[in-house]
């Protein structure tokens, strides 16, 4: 059995404007998502993230290429019964209450009525929606988002598509959602996450794709994205002439830079770094910390979208 739950092969999506101009939203996008992982899709506004999710949900048809979930086209309703989806902009009609809204969403996924009766209270508790008896029109944005998450889980889906799931939630709510995503992954569910909050994506995702102008600009694990730059920050207790002289004996002037008591240094290799540390100890000066410089996902992302090589 294949481990890839989601497969996107050379997908292109073009839209035609009213003036007859063709706008390309996706160009030759290929990616795959493995079972039981959290996959993060990031990109600027208009990069094509929502278009790709819509194609994966059968809401839009690709102009070229193919998308498959569990080996089946998403247009097939029986395939979609195994999906859960939280859209970025969700409209909840005023007349609903949480329970009948979830019941309706469950019925659209052919969930058995008796099963739903048991599942709905559990789901509301799981997403932390305690005051659920009032009509949805009286819900805050955060409550609506929690209800949206509950509806995405109502059919106990195997694949979950979440478009900005922490939108409108306070920091505690965001942590709740992160914890929920980790729990769901532990239960074997595959999660396709689209978020602008890069710190969150970095925290929970197993694999990340950066979409830029409708193409896959980069695909890697968070560790690969945030790998070391080769630079080190060495913090010492104090800097005097002896310390500067000790540094100058090992390091060329252009390879090191003092910022108060911190030395920014790019060694040739590990022995070069150790040689500098030995010299500093012999100066003598107390070394407080040695820290490799790493790119954050945000820095990496900004470099990718601005066209600079990370």
């Amino acid at each position: 059995m294949t481990r890839s739950v989601i497969e996107v092969l050379d997908v292109e999506k073009n839209y035609r404007t009213f003036r007859g101009k063709t706008v390309s939203a996706l160009q030759g996008v290929s990616l795959h998502v493995e079972r039981g992982t959290i996959f993060g899709l990031i990109g600027q506004n208009g990069a094509g993230k929502t278009t790709l999710i819509k194609i994966l949900l059968g809401l839009a048809t690709p102009t070229a290429g193919a998308a498959r979930v569990w080996g089946r086209p998403p247009k097939d309703p029986s395939a979609r019964r195994r999906f859960g989806y939280l859209p970025e902009q969700m409209r909840l009609p005023d007349y609903f209450r949480a329970e009948n809204f979830l019941r309706y969403m469950g019925r659209l996924n052919s969930v058995d009525r008796t099963l739903m009766k048991r599942r709905i209270p559990m789901l509301l508790e799981r997403v932390g929606l305690t005051d659920f008896r009032k009509p949805v029109k009286a819900y805050s944005k955060g409550m609506q988002q929690r209800l949206g998450l509950a509806q995405a889980l109502v059919n106990d889906p195997e694949v979950l598509f979440l478009d900005e799931p922490t939108d409108g939630l306070d920091p505690l709510g965001r942590k709740d959602v992160r914890d929920l995503l980790v729990q769901l992954r532990a239960e074997g569910k595959t999660i396709f996450l689209n978020s602008h909050l890069l710190s969150e994506v970095e925290l929970v995702c197993d694999r990340i794709v950066i979409l830029n102008n409708g193409t896959v600009a980069c695909a890697a694990t968070p560790q690969e994205f945030t790998r070391g730059t080769g630079e080190y920050l060495i913090r010492v207790a104090a800097v005097d002439d002896a310390v500067r002289a000790a540094t100058a004996r090992v390091v060329a002037e252009d390879a090191a830079e003092w910022e108060q008591t911190t030395l920014r240094f790019t060694p040739r290799d590990r022995s070069h770094l150790n040689a500098l540390l030995d010299r500093l100890r012999g100066a003598p000066v107390e070394i407080e910390s040695v820290e490799p410089v790493k790119l954050s996902l945000e820095e990496f992302f900004l470099q990718v979208v601005s066209g600079r090589e990370p």
């Binding site: 819509k54 949900l57 059968g58 809401l59 839009a60 048809t61 309703p77 029986s78 395939a79 979609r80 019964r81 195994r82 999906f83 989806y85 859209p87 902009q89 969700m90 409209r91 009609p93 005023d94 007349y95 009948n100 309706y104 969403m105 019925r107 659209l108 996924n109 052919s110 509806q151 059919n155 598509f161």
Partner: protein, 269 residues
């Protein structure tokens, strides 16, 4: 589809326009009951009095009364019910809601058809509320069967289905409820003139080409006014000579609705 159908009925009950229409239907039922009086004369004969009109025997008065009810409610309801039913269709395609429903494991056509059927049910319910009390009362008091109103209801709903299908088709390429309502109302207003086109359009257009276009327009479009006339004939006990309005309207409805559902299935959102 049934889940969507029930949900759409629930939704329509929460809309103010539907509640107002139900209120009007109840008011009409009360008014008709108030103006109709059934009197038993000293010789044992039953007479029916409608307002200030002279008393008439039930065999004449009951069909005549049913025709009045049908004319008043049938025409009015078609127009009013479009206002209540069209929003059910446009709401299906509202951003933020269509993503929720169309991403679920039910085909789009089933969701849309469920809402279409809920719109028809809404119309039938209003018709029943407005006409059933007086029809039942006449039957109970006079013993003359008023079951023909049931058949009339089915025929009228059939005509309404054609108009709602037009509203459904117009819903697809645009947002908002105004255009679907206008399209359905325009056809409803056009059909009586097309049915008597020799007295209306032929007087304006003398060219063969234009008259040919008008004839084909008549043939293609639903025959709402003729369906209403059929209902009246049926209630009056007259023989229905031609089923052409029924089957041509049926073909129109099926084609328009089928096209709508096919386009909806192919549409990229």
């Amino acid at each position: 589809m049934f889940a969507t159908y029930l949900n759409s009925l629930h939704e329509s009950m929460s809309r103010r326009v539907a509640l107002v229409l139900f209120g009007v239907a109840i008011l009409i039922a009360i008014t008709f009951n108030a103006v109709v009086h059934v009197r038993t004369l000293p010789d044992g004969a039953t007479m029916i009095l409608v307002g200030a009109q002279p008393p008439a025997p039930p065999a004449i008065a009951v069909p005549s009364m049913l025709e009045s009810i049908l004319r008043a409610t049938g025409s009015l309801w078609v127009l009013l019910a479009i206002f209540a039913a069209a929003p059910l269709l446009t709401a299906t395609l509202e951003k933020g809601w269509l993503e929720l429903t169309f991403s679920k494991g039910t085909s789009r056509w089933k969701i849309f058809l469920g809402r279409f059927l809920a719109g028809l049910t809404l119309y039938s319910l209003m018709f029943v509320i407005a006409t059933l009390p007086v029809a039942l009362r006449l039957w109970w008091k006079t013993g003359i069967g008023t079951w023909q109103m049931g058949i009339a209801l089915l025929i009228q709903t059939f005509g309404f289905a054609a108009l709602l299908a037009v509203a459904a088709l117009v819903t697809l390429p645009q947002k908002g409820v105004a255009l679907p309502v206008i399209a359905a109302a325009a056809i409803w207003l056009l059909t009586p003139s097309l049915a008597i086109r020799q007295e209306t359009f032929y007087r304006i257009f003398s060219s063969h080409v234009m008259r040919g276009i008008i004839d084909w327009t008549y043939r293609i479009l639903p025959k709402c006014s003729e369906l209403e006339d059929m209902c009246v004939s049926f209630i009056q006990g007259r023989t229905i000579t031609s089923w052409w309005p029924v089957w041509s309207t049926g073909v129109f409805t099926l084609l328009v609705l089928g096209t709508t559902l096919w386009l909806l299935g192919r549409k990229s959102f």
